[in-house]
């Protein structure tokens, strides 16, 4: 019921449409760079940097609107005056936004299968989607935590976008800290696994590359949940 509330209030026209447009432009805009047929999977990873930037903007705007925006509009007060558990409210908003965002990006990304003449069972497509999912989870939990702390929609949007945009710029291609670096690492490992294409990537590096954002996300989610449930006051 809260999911429907969130969908109808925060994903009304033209929000979903703008997200779809953003996904299409970020994912499909990139020309095919590797024409070598054996390198076709590399096309999947070549444009991932642009996807990351669009994701930052999307997550920053959507999650700030959903959380911080609902504080400033008074909708959170309304929701919390009903017999609803705070954890349910947080979970509904978080999961709805996360799932819709990822579904849109994954669907558009899957158009790469025919565009790059890949088999639908091509593992590297799903490796790329997994990379995007990890990034979406990471960005979403961070945006949620920041929005709950800031409670102002505009400041929240700016903070999230500047923070992650800055982080990606500063960390460059660092293999653990930046999205592009992590993706290259994970992609390289699975390419090595599935088709023996070098460079060889150590399993431990891949585990760190995946565990780092996921564990940070879980930590932030738990912190947000505890804060929202037990500490947060709404004036």
């Amino acid at each position: 019921m809260l999911v429907i509330w969130e969908l109808e209030e925060n994903w009304d026209f033209p929000v979903l449409e703008l997200v779809i447009l953003g996904a299409i432009f970020s994912i499909l805009n990139q020309p095919i760079i590797f024409l070598d047929f054996d390198g076709r999977c590399r096309n999947l990873t070549s444009s991932i940097g642009i996807v990351s930037i669009f994701l930052i903007f999307n997550v920053g705007a959507l999650f700030s609107r959903s959380f911080a925006g609902s504080f400033s509009k008074g909708e959170m007060r309304t929701l919390l005056s009903y017999p609803l558990k705070r954890s349910n409210v947080l979970a509904a908003k978080f999961l709805t936004n996360l799932l819709i965002l990822f579904t849109v990006y994954a669907t558009v990304f899957s158009l790469n299968i025919p565009l790059l003449a890949l088999s639908p069972l091509e593992p590297m497509v799903y490796v790329s989607m997994m990379s995007i999912l990890v990034q979406v989870i990471f960005l979403s939990t961070s945006a949620t935590t920041l929005s709950l702390l800031i409670k102002n929609e505009v400041i929240s949007v700016l903070t999230v976008i500047l923070l992650f945009f800055g982080l990606e710029s500063i960390t460059g291609k660092d293999k653990y800290l930046s999205f592009s670096g992590r993706h290259e690492l994970v992609f390289g490992y699975f390419e090595y696994l599935t088709r023996g294409i070098i460079p060889e990537v150590a399993f431990q590096e891949v585990v760190i590359a995946l565990l780092f954002p996921l564990s940070l996300s879980m930590f932030l989610l738990v912190v947000s949940l505890l804060y929202f449930n037990y500490i947060m006051e709404i004036d």
Binding site: M1, I4, W5, E8, E9, D12, S70, K73, G74, E75, R77, T78, L80, S81, Y82, P83, L84, K85, E233, I234, D235
Partner: protein, 306 residues
């Protein structure tokens, strides 16, 4: 305390260096209760604590004997809230919003209930329009509708008549009385429009600078803070007034619209002396009435007098 549905004990709350509530001991019985005080007195802070949005620094607050912070979820099943600062989802129609609210409260036949409450509150025609198109008055009515849709045991209303036209206010106050009479709904109403409150409230709590100034049944408070004014109608008011002035039982005597008003110094002596004077002057007595203080007068004396 027994018999009270809302209780606070030494309730204290600060926002930085601002002490919003200072050892507040509020008690609200069943019925229709008013919660009044000047701006910044701490009414909204108290309501926010009661509905579980704020945590008190010290002391306790409870509704139905349940702690308002720790057991907030249980409390919210039994109350409805109209809050000044609440916002409603702008893209929903009034009908859709109330249906959602009804479902939150697990009301079966949510659509029927929503339609009924929209009708009661005078919004049946606007029910299919988006909330963003509503005027301030319509939004206020919608707020009332969502507060009352679940048939709560206690409805907490913060400025319920704000932005509503006079006929709407009459309708609303009648609705409140009807709900209390027919369904036993209790109300805690915070408002600045005291004459309206006076018409429907049984109990008043007055707060000032975060402290409780006084609370009690309206009639008792009226007696307590009464200006001790009597109104006398006789055949010759000027003659009587002259005689009364010479006595020692009144502070002040004046005539208005051919009626004598006396601010009494000593009630017992006044009750003995005045009938005797009237009898001696052989005047015809038409009425002899005690003038109860209005809520405004009580409020002026209590909230601003200290």
């Amino acid at each position: 305390m027994a018999g009270f549905i809302v209780s606070t004990t030494k309730l204290t709350k600060s926002f930085g260096s601002v002490l919003a509530l200072d050892d507040l001991n509020l008690h609200i019985p069943k019925g229709i209760s008013g919660f009044i005080g000047p701006n910044g007195a701490g009414k909204t802070t108290t309501i926010n604590i009661l509905i579980g949005l704020l945590k008190p620094d010290h002391g306790e607050a409870s509704i139905f004997g349940l702690d308002s912070w720790r057991e907030s979820y249980e409390i919210r099943k039994r109350i409805g809230v109209l809050d000044e600062k609440c916002g409603y989802p702008k893209n929903f129609t009034g009908m859709k919003f109330l249906k959602h609210v009804a479902r939150i409260y697990n009301i079966t036949q949510s659509e029927k209930r929503a339609r009924m409450i929209l009708n009661d509150i005078g919004l049946s025609e606007a029910g299919n329009k988006p909330i963003k198109t509503y005027s301030a008055g319509m939004t206020q009515r919608l707020g009332l509708a969502q507060a009352l849709i679940s048939d709560p045991e206690l409805a907490i209303l913060d400025e319920p008549t704000a932005n509503i036209d006079p006929s709407g206010r009459i309708l609303l106050l009648d609705k409140i009385k009807e709900l209390h009479r027919d369904r036993g709904t209790n109300f805690l109403i915070s408002t600045h429009i005291l004459p309206e409150l006076e018409k429907i409230c049984d109990w008043i709590s007055i707060i000032r600078k975060g402290k409780l100034v006084d609370q009690g049944y309206v009639k008792e408070l009226a007696m307590k803070y009464s200006a001790n004014v009597y109104r006398i109608e006789v055949s010759n008011p000027q003659l009587l007034a002259e005689k009364i002035k010479k006595t020692n039982v009144v502070e002040l005597v004046w005539i208005e619209d051919a009626r004598i008003y006396c601010k009494v110094k000593n009630l017992e002596e006044f009750h003995e002396e005045i009938p005797r004077i009237i009898a001696s002057l052989k005047l015809k007595l038409r009425s002899f009435q005690y003038m109860h203080s209005s809520l405004e007068e009580i409020y002026k004396e209590v909230a601003h007098g200290e």
